[in-house]
Symmetry: C3
Subunit: 256 residues, 3 copies
C-alpha cells in the first residue's frame, strides 16, 4: 500500500492551489493517498510550517511522505530538497521548513538530497511543478537516492530552537492555534524536567503551570502541548484576550 | 468495505489537530475511509456540534461512524462514550454532542457504551488518543459491544429541544451558517404542520414564511432548512445584516 | 478506476454542506473518489466559481468530473446542466459557471445536456439532491448521453471575457486569492504576446510587469499567474494594502 502523502502549505483552502497539489500527485500516481495536513500556515511563515510538520510527523505512523510548501523564495535560486528522517520523508524548499524534523533526528538516521528543478517548471508554482510530483513518487515507494544528489547541509532555522542563558530559556511564539493557545519553540526537552517558575513576554507574564487545559484558572498558564512544546493558554478563550503573547513575540522561561 | 469515518470537531482547519485524527485512525486501520464532516464547530459549542452531527447523519447512508470531538472538559472526569442509533455510530465525549442522534431515535433502536480511557492517553488531546482509535475500530466493523460497558443515560442537552407553551415555541439559534442563515433548534416536527405566524427575537421579528431562499423578498423570512430545522434567512446577505438573531440568541415562534 | 470527482462550491467549510455532497455521491457510488476542489468561492459569485473551475481543470489530468455548485437561483426555473469539454465533465446550474470551460474548448470537442430535476429534490439544496448524484454517476463511467437531453446554449458570462478597444483591454478582478493577488479575467491569450504597458483601476495603476513574485519590488506589479490570467500582485503582502484593486473592480490594460 502507498505511504500517506501529507500536504503542509500556506495556501489556505479558499483557492484551488491546495487541490492542485493533489492533481499533480495523481498525475504521477493516480492512487496516491493524499491528506491535507494543513494549509493554514500563515503566508510565508517558515517557522510555523516547521512546527506543523513536526506535529504531523508525531501524529502519523511512519512511513509517511510530506510535501511542504511555504515558499516565499519560489522562482529564485533557493534549492529544492527531500529529506528522510527515520521513516519520515519530506519534500520542501530549502528554507528551514525541515528544521525540527532534521535537528531532532540522530545524525545516523537522517539524510538529504537536492532535487533537480525541471526546465519546464513554472516560476510561480513549484508546489505543483516540483514538490508534489517528487513527493508522489516517494510515496509510491521510490527511493530517496533516485530523487536527487546527496547533500548534508539543509538549512535549519536557528530561531526554531531556544537559547539558554543561566536559568533562563529564550524563544518565541511559533504558532497561535485555533483555540488561541500561543505555542512557543521552547520544548519539554529544553526544560529537561525542570518546573517553569515564570514565563514572560513583552507586557505580560504567568507563574502558573498546569498539565491540562481544564486546570487553568481565570488567568493565563503554561502547559506542554500535544507536540511537546510549551504554550501559553487560557481556559475557554484565546490567551491574547487576557494579555498573552502574539505570533512571533519573544518569550522567556525562568527555571530553578 | 469499511464504513465511512466522519469527523466533526471544533478544531478548525488551520492547525494540524484535524489531520492528527486521520493519523490516529490510520494507526488502527490504514484503510479507514476518513471524511472531514466539519471542523468548523465554534470552539466549545456542544449544541452546534450536536446540530452538525444530525445534519451529517441525514447526508450519509448508514452504516457510518462519526468521531465527534467538541470537548471543553478534556482531562476531567467526564465520560467517553459511543452510541449506535439505527445504523449510525458516534464516538464522543459524554457532554450532549449526541443529543439529536439519541433523542430522535426510538428507544428500541439505540444503545450506548462507556469507553475506557487508556492510561497512556494524553490529558490534552483525547480526540487523537481515545476517540479516533475507537471510531476507526468501529468503522472497520468491530462491534459496539466490544467497545465498552453498556450505559443507558448519555447526556442529552435540554437546550437542544424547543419548549412549548400555549401557541408558542421557544428555542435558540444553534448555528449561523456560512451564508448567514440563523438555524434554530426549532424543528419541523415541533411545528407539526402548523404555519409560522411570527418568529421573534430580541430586537427583531418576521411574519414571512417561505419554502425556498429565492422566495425571500427584501426582508427577513423563516424557512425549514435542509436538516428540518427552522431558520431565519435573508436573500443574498447574512440575516444579521437585516437585524436577524445571532448565535445563541433566544427565538420564539407563534403558531395559530 | 473511477474518475476523480471534484467539488467547487461557495459553501465554505465550517458547516456540513460540503461533506453532504460526498454523502450524496457515495449513496450513488460508495467508491467515488471525492476531492474538495474548493469551497471558498465567495457566496453567489459565479464569475469566481468559473475561474476556479478553469484553474482546477488545468491542475488535474482528464478524465475528471466536476460538481460545481454556486447556485443563488436554487429552487427557481434555472436549468441544471452537464457539459463535457475534451475529457473534462462538469455538472452545474446553468448560470455561467462553465463559462471558461465551454468557451475555451473548440466547438467540436464540447457538448452539453440539460438534467432532469427529480420531483423529490428539495427546493433549497440541489447540490445534494441533483448535482452530486449525477456527477457521481458520470465519475463512475456513465455517459453524458444518459444524463440528460442535448442542448447547445449553456449560459456563458460575457463579463468573464475581456473587451478590446484600440490598444486597451478591459476586464475586472475575478478572484482575490489567499495571498492577496488580484486575479483578473484578462488572459495571456488576450495579450497575444504583447507586453503590458500599464494596468489601471479606480485609484491606482502600475507599469511594472514581472515573471515571478520574487521579481516584484516595493510596489505593485502585473504578472501572468498559474492559470494564465493577468494578476496584480505585491511581494509578501496583499496587493490591496498597496492600493491594488478589490474583488469585482474594473481593470484596464494598455498594450503597445
Amino acid at each position: 500500500m502507498r505511504h500517506p502523502l501529507i500536504f503542509v502549505t500556506d495556501f489556505g483552502r479558499d483557492d484551488t492551489y491546495a487541490a492542485a497539489l493533489i492533481g499533480a500527485a495523481w498525475a504521477v500516481d493516480p492512487q496516491a493517498r493524499c491528506v491535507d495536513g494543513t494549509h493554514g500556515v500563515p503566508p510565508g511563515n517558515v517557522l510555523a510550517g516547521a512546527y506543523h510538520l513536526k506535529a504531523l510527523a508525531l501524529a502519523f505512523e511512519p512511513p509517511v511522505v510530506f510535501c511542504a510548501v511555504v515558499d516565499p523564495g519560489v522562482g529564485t535560486a533557493r534549492r529544492a530538497i527531500a529529506i528522510e528522517t527515520d521513516g519520515v520523508v519530506c519534500v520542501a524548499p530549502d528554507n528551514g521548513l525541515i528544521s525540527y524534523l532534521w535537528e531532532e533526528t540522530p545524525a545516523g538516521l537522517r539524510r538529504a538530497v537536492e532535487l533537480e528543478i525541471p526546465e519546464q517548471a513554472s516560476t510561480t508554482f513549484h508546489g505543483r511543478d516540483v514538490f508534489a510530483p517528487v513527493a508522489a513518487q516517494l510515496a509510491s515507494g521510490s527511493s530517496l537516492d533516485d530523487a536527487g544528489v546527496p547533500i548534508d547541509d539543509p538549512i535549519v532555522l536557528s530561531e526554531a530552537f531556544a537559547q539558554r542563558s543561566a536559568g533562563r530559556l529564550s524563544g518565541r511564539v511559533a504558532v497561535v492555534d485555533h483555540f488561541g493557545n500561543a505555542i512557543t519553540i521552547i520544548r519539554d526537552v529544553d526544560l529537561a524536567g525542570s518546573p517553569v517558575l515564570r514565563a514572560g513576554w513583552s507586557g505580560g507574564e504567568t507563574s502558573v503551570s498546569v498539565a491540562t487545559y481544564d486546570q487553568i484558572g481565570d488567568g493565563l498558564a503554561v502547559l506542554i502541548g500535544s507536540a511537546g512544546h510549551l504554550e501559553i493558554a487560557a481556559r475557554g478563550v484565546a490567551s491574547a484576550t487576557l494579555g498573552g503573547p502574539s505570533l512571533g513575540d519573544a518569550v522567556t522561561v525562568d527555571l530553578p
